[in-house]
Assembly symmetry: C2
Homo-oligomer: 411 residues x 2
Amino acid sequence: MSFFASRWVDVPEGLLEVPEGGLPQGFRAAGVACGLKADGGLDLGLMVSDPPDTVSAARFTRSGVLAAPVLVTQQHAKLDAIRVVAANSGNANAATGNRGLDEAARMQGAAAMAGRASTENVAVCSTGVIGVQLDGRKVVRGLLDASAKLGPDDAAFTAAIMTTDAFEKRVTLRLELSGGPVLLSAQAKGAGMISPAFATMLAFVQTDAALEATTADLLLGVCVKRSFDRISVDGQLSTNDTVILQASGASGVAVAPESDDELLFGQALDALLRQLALLIVKDGEGARRVGRVVVRGGDPKGVEHVARAIANSPLVKTALYGGDPNWGRIAQAIGMALPYSSPLVYDISIEGMQVTSAGQSVDHDTADLAERVSRPEVEYWVGLPGDGAETEVFFSDLGHEYITINADYTT
Amino acid sequence: MSFFASRWVDVPEGLLEVPEGGLPQGFRAAGVACGLKADGGLDLGLMVSDPPDTVSAARFTRSGVLAAPVLVTQQHAKLDAIRVVAANSGNANAATGNRGLDEAARMQGAAAMAGRASTENVAVCSTGVIGVQLDGRKVVRGLLDASAKLGPDDAAFTAAIMTTDAFEKRVTLRLELSGGPVLLSAQAKGAGMISPAFATMLAFVQTDAALEATTADLLLGVCVKRSFDRISVDGQLSTNDTVILQASGASGVAVAPESDDELLFGQALDALLRQLALLIVKDGEGARRVGRVVVRGGDPKGVEHVARAIANSPLVKTALYGGDPNWGRIAQAIGMALPYSSPLVYDISIEGMQVTSAGQSVDHDTADLAERVSRPEVEYWVGLPGDGAETEVFFSDLGHEYITINADYTT
């Protein structure tokens, strides 16, 4: 199956998947088992961009409880010049206090050695259980091991950042720019604790295009807002979310600011991040179906509240899981999002079929609707009074597998 | 088992359960099957207070999408003089537009006939599926049937308001006041769509004490804030929530404003509503355990956000279901509730055992903690910076039964 499987992603012309995968020029990666995962699986990834003039951009969770690696990266790394990324799974190093900060700093130092970079060019990331101290000795030994295994493939790196993910989220793309072709590769993890912004989720993008740091930051910011910021698996904001874009410039093909190439590169990054975000939602801890809710109206805050309320409603999510066309739960979520606003005028359509007009049900073919909501992607449309504001949220369903995965995670 | 089973309810002296049940003087009730439930079960309840000077008080959902019966009751009933309550299950009469309002008005008219009251003394309530028109002919015929069956027992009435409830929530209490004994009886339904305030939940309380209308309103308001306003099953605010207190005065025992009797009656009503609320949480669509989170700090809004975030977190709820002492998810929910506030100082205790101090984990006996969180009631305590604000929320766990119940509810 093609990487770009969703109808909700616009893929620009000139952007092609590279079936054999691999990293863009200038990058090397590795993934090793350092003993953080009880099952002995890969749990420590190292990504290195060799060119000293590598530029980067980063985005992080907005949680009030930031994990130690997020704090260390924000405070002690040059976010526009990250050459080395070290990321572990099996332990989030969150809610670990000063000792956790020490371990994250130790990880940053060891990763700098492993990647032959200055510590200020190193980002560290962690994902896994919260509230358990990270065993820094394992991480340091693992980074030494990883430095000897750095190579042009990102499969082991991707496996090393996965936790409850059911499938890997990895792709290599080729984009034709005016100065020649460039490559983009990406690795992401995330299946739960996904919302209201981008989520217990780590995503790394590499390109050998030459970007200015301001361009990288601008494009990443815009694309994150249209992708990882618009998804919800379980409405839970994580302590560790991190997205990093690195540009090695090793292709020699520059993306000039405000050029057609910048627009094209931005479209490619947008398609890449949206599809990655959709894969995370699709992998939403046992999810069967992916929903998209689009809300339009006159009040931006109300539109946002309604979209989030629908995407996070366990009643809407269980109905999606069951393939149940229960639009009454959409109406309920709208009412919850806009308290004290009765009588509220709203329209609801599901998969293009209108079911409610001005708050009143509309006769529709229920058998046809039942068939439509049993497909892998289901789109909900809500119209509120007024005009000018519109938003979307992608969300997973809520099923038995989510319970099974989450009822017994630490023990 | 005694009705007052929870350690989180203070039962005043002089309040005793009446094991044989039954309604206070002045009240008659009935429950019939009128054909709204597909399985032919009881689905229409009628409660009548015969004394013409009956006083009452009521509270409703704050959803922006109010069900037709809520609108009709709010607009066309004297909320301080409700003599007759008609309540159906099997259909919420919500998101049903003008036709739904007509049907609710018709139900009010028929209930007035059935209870020999003026329509302005009639409240109507509905619960069940949203977005389907209510068949008013069935309701009218059913009310005629119910009027012939009115009697001193409330068992059939209670059964008629249940939907996904696994057990009935009904009790009769006897309270010794200075002027003599009075009775209180109550019937509630609710198992899902419960939050952020009192929920798809209907609760009816009758007493033969003589209350002034202002006293009834004051006491109900205070007690609802400490009970149905503090529970969450799935974080979903309903379109239909209604709580009604009726006082027939038929015992001849008056509760004078600002008297010791008023205090005692208030304490009894508080215990009654808190235990009913806890029963609704306990019945939270497949729930195994009930959680209570208490949050203290200096900022009332922050305290409320944190308590709600914990109570509504599917990660905290699945851990509670699994009997898993995963306090990292409490830390994550705190961070989510207070974005951009890192580094946040917080303490967490579970069942009296401190696990986090100033954001850092504290050594504790994990085996002992694991045993404590496997009990039927689990208490979480969170301390935030500052003083003066405190709140609590009761919540159910999230397990497989919730999915099974909700994945296929309309079809």
